[in-house]
C-alpha cells in the first residue's frame, strides 16, 4: 500500500507546487492522477519515487517512510529520461544492468519489449534519431523491463497516436493483470484516466491539492472502453475538472 500523508513541496525558488496532499493507493491498484498543467503532478510522482524530498509530510510504502529510491519501484519520467549516449537497446537494458541481472535475462526481456513496442530495427539507434513517440516507447520499455511491483508513470503515452496509445494501454492492462503491480498514472487524458484508474485523484490548480477522489470500479479491463459506465465516468470527471460537455 502507498500512502501520501499531507505532503507539500515548495521549490528552492519559492514556487509552491503542492500543498498537503493525502491519499492512499491499495496494493495492486491502478490510481490515475489528473489535474491542470503545472499543478504539481510530476512533483508528486517524484516524491513518491523517493527522488525528491517533500518540504512537508511523508510518503509511506507498505508502512515504511520513503526517503530514497526503492528497488521495487519504477518511474517513467515525463520527458522520457533517456540517455543520449546510449542506444535504444542500452537505454532499455540499463535498469536491469544496474540491478545486475544475468546477461541472458536482460537480452530476453529487452528483445521481447522491443518487439512488443514496435521498435524493431532501431535497437542500435541513439535517441536523437528517434521520433517523439518512439522515445516515449523506449522509456516505457525501460520501466517495464524491471518488472516492478510499483510503477509510477508520468504521462507515458502523451506523444503517441491514438492507435498506438490504445495498444499500449491494452498492453499495460495485460501486464497489470498478470503481475498485479501497483500503478500510479499521471495523465492529462481523461479517457485514459478512466480506462485505467480504479481510483482517480483529481488535483486543483497550483498549488495542487486534492480536489476529489473518484472510485471507478470498472477500470483496468480492455473492454471497459466500449461500455456505457466508461462514458459516464468520463463525463463525471470532465465535470469535476470543469469541462462542459
Amino acid at each position: 500500500m502507498i500512502e501520501a500523508r499531507n505532503i507539500s513541496k515548495i521549490y528552492e525558488n519559492g514556487v509552491k507546487a503542492i500543498e498537503s496532499i493525502s491519499f492512499e493507493v491499495e496494493k495492486g491498484e491502478i490510481c490515475s492522477i489528473i489535474g491542470p498543467s503545472g499543478c504539481g503532478k510530476s512533483t508528486l510522482l517524484l516524491i513518491f519515487s523517493g527522488l525528491l524530498e517533500p518540504t512537508g509530510g511523508e510518503v509511506l510504502i507498505d508502512g515504511k517512510i520513503v526517503n530514497s529510491v526503492r528497488k521495487d519501484v519504477a518511474l517513467i519520467l515525463q520527458d522520457y529520461g533517456l540517455f543520449p549516449w546510449k542506444t535504444v537497446r542500452e537505454n532499455i537494458a540499463i535498469g536491469l544492468k544496474i540491478q545486475k541481472y544475468p546477461k541472458d535475462e536482460i537480452d530476453n526481456r529487452v528483445k521481447f519489449l522491443i518487439r512488443k513496442l514496435g521498435l524493431e530495427g532501431f535497437e542500435n539507434s541513439y535517441p536523437k534519431h528517434l521520433s517523439g513517440g518512439m522515445r516515449q516507447r523506449v522509456a516505457f520499455a525501460r520501466a517495464l523491463a524491471m518488472k516492478p511491483s510499483i510503477l509510477l508513470m508520468d504521462e507515458p503515452f502523451s506523444s503517441l497516436d491514438a492507435l498506438s496509445r490504445e495498444r499500449l494501454q491494452n498492453f499495460l492492462i495485460k501486464i497489470w493483470q498478470e503481475t498485479s503491480a501497483t500503478i500510479l498514472l499521471v495523465t492529462h487524458n481523461i479517457e485514459e484516466a478512466v480506462l485505467l484508474g480504479k481510483k482517480i485523484v483529481v488535483l486543483t490548480e497550483r498549488p495542487g491539492r486534492v480536489k476529489r477522489i473518484v472510485k471507478n470500479e470498472g477500470a483496468g479491463r480492455v473492454e471497459y472502453r466500449y461500455e456505457e459506465g466508461f462514458f459516464e465516468k468520463c463525463r463525471e470527471i470532465r465535470e469535476i475538472v470543469g469541462i462542459e460537455d
Partner: protein
C-alpha cells in the same frame, strides 16, 4: 537502416585532407615570406629547415620516441588520477573538499616547484614525468570538475529512478556526459605536455625533443631549432589524430 555512409565518409575524408594540405601550404608560405622580409638567422627559410629535418630524421626520430614515451606516460598518469577526482566533484560533498584545493593550488606556477620535485624524485625520468603529469593533472582536473558540475540533474534523476548506486551514476551518467569535455581537456593537455617538455628535458638528459630544441637554441643553431620544432609539431599532430579517432569511437552519440 544499413549504413550507406561509405561514400559520404570518403568525400569528407578527401575534404579534410584538402583542408590540411591547403593550411600546411599557407603556413609554409607565410613562414617563407616572413623569413624573406625579416631576413634574420632567427628565421630560416622553410625549405632549408625541411631539408635539414629530412637529413636529421634518423637521429631526430630517436628523440621523438623518448619524448613520446615521456609525454604519453605523463598523460596516462595525469588522466588516471584527475578524471576520477574531477568526476567525484559532481557530488557537492566531494566538491566542497576538492575544489578549494584546486582553487588554491592550480594557480601556482607548477614549473617553479621543479627544485622541490627534484628533491623528492631525483633527477631521472621519474621527476620529468612527475612534472609534466602534475601540470596536466591540474588542467584536466579543472575541466573534468567543471563538466561534472554542469551535468543536468535530469539525467541523474532518471538513472536514480532505476535504483542506481553512486557508482552507477558515475559510470552511466557522469562519465559519459563528461566525455566530450574530457576529450577537449586531453587535446589541450597534448599541447601543454609538449610545452612542459622543455623544462622536463632541460635537466639530466641529452635525449628528447625538449633537449634537442633547448640545445639548438642555446647554440643559436636555428635550423636545428626549427627541425626540432617541426618534429614536435608532428609528434603533437599525431597525438591529436589519435585523440580524434578515440573521440569518433567514444562519442558517436553527439
Amino acid at each position: 537502416m544499413s549504413g550507406d555512409k561509405g561514400d559520404s565518409g570518403n568525400r569528407r575524408l578527401i575534404a579534410e585532407f584538402k583542408g590540411y594540405f591547403l593550411s600546411a601550404l599557407t603556413i609554409i608560405t607565410v613562414w617563407s615570406l616572413t623569413s624573406y622580409i625579416v631576413s634574420s638567422p632567427a628565421l630560416p627559410q622553410p625549405f632549408e629547415v625541411v631539408i635539414y629535418f629530412l637529413i636529421k630524421l634518423p637521429e631526430l626520430s630517436k628523440h621523438v620516441a623518448v619524448s613520446l614515451f615521456r609525454v604519453v606516460y605523463s598523460i596516462i598518469l595525469a588522466l588516471s588520477i584527475s578524471i576520477p577526482l574531477g568526476l567525484m566533484c559532481f557530488k557537492d560533498s566531494a566538491d566542497r573538499i576538492i575544489s578549494p584545493f584546486i582553487f588554491l593550488l592550480y594557480p601556482i606556477p607548477h614549473i617553479v616547484l621543479l627544485p622541490l620535485i627534484i628533491l623528492l624524485f631525483g633527477i631521472g625520468d621519474a621527476s620529468k614525468i612527475f612534472l609534466i603529469a602534475m601540470i596536466l593533472f591540474f588542467q584536466i582536473l579543472v575541466t573534468t570538475r567543471d563538466s561534472a558540475r554542469n551535468i543536468s540533474e535530469y539525467y541523474i534523476l532518471s538513472l536514480k529512478s532505476l535504483g542506481a548506486s553512486d557508482w552507477d551514476v558515475y559510470r552511466h551518467v557522469v562519465f559519459p556526459a563528461s566525455l566530450p569535455r574530457i576529450l577537449t581537456a586531453m587535446r589541450i593537455s597534448v599541447g601543454t605536455a609538449i610545452a612542459v617538455l622543455f623544462f622536463a628535458e632541460s635537466f639530466a638528459t641529452t635525449t628528447g625533443l625538449g633537449y634537442v630544441i633547448m640545445d639548438a637554441w642555446s647554440r643559436a643553431d636555428y635550423k636545428s631549432l626549427y627541425a626540432g620544432i617541426i618534429s614536435m609539431a608532428l609528434l603533437g599532430f599525431s597525438m591529436y589524430i589519435v585523440l580524434e579517432i578515440i573521440e569518433k569511437r567514444l562519442c558517436r552519440w553527439v
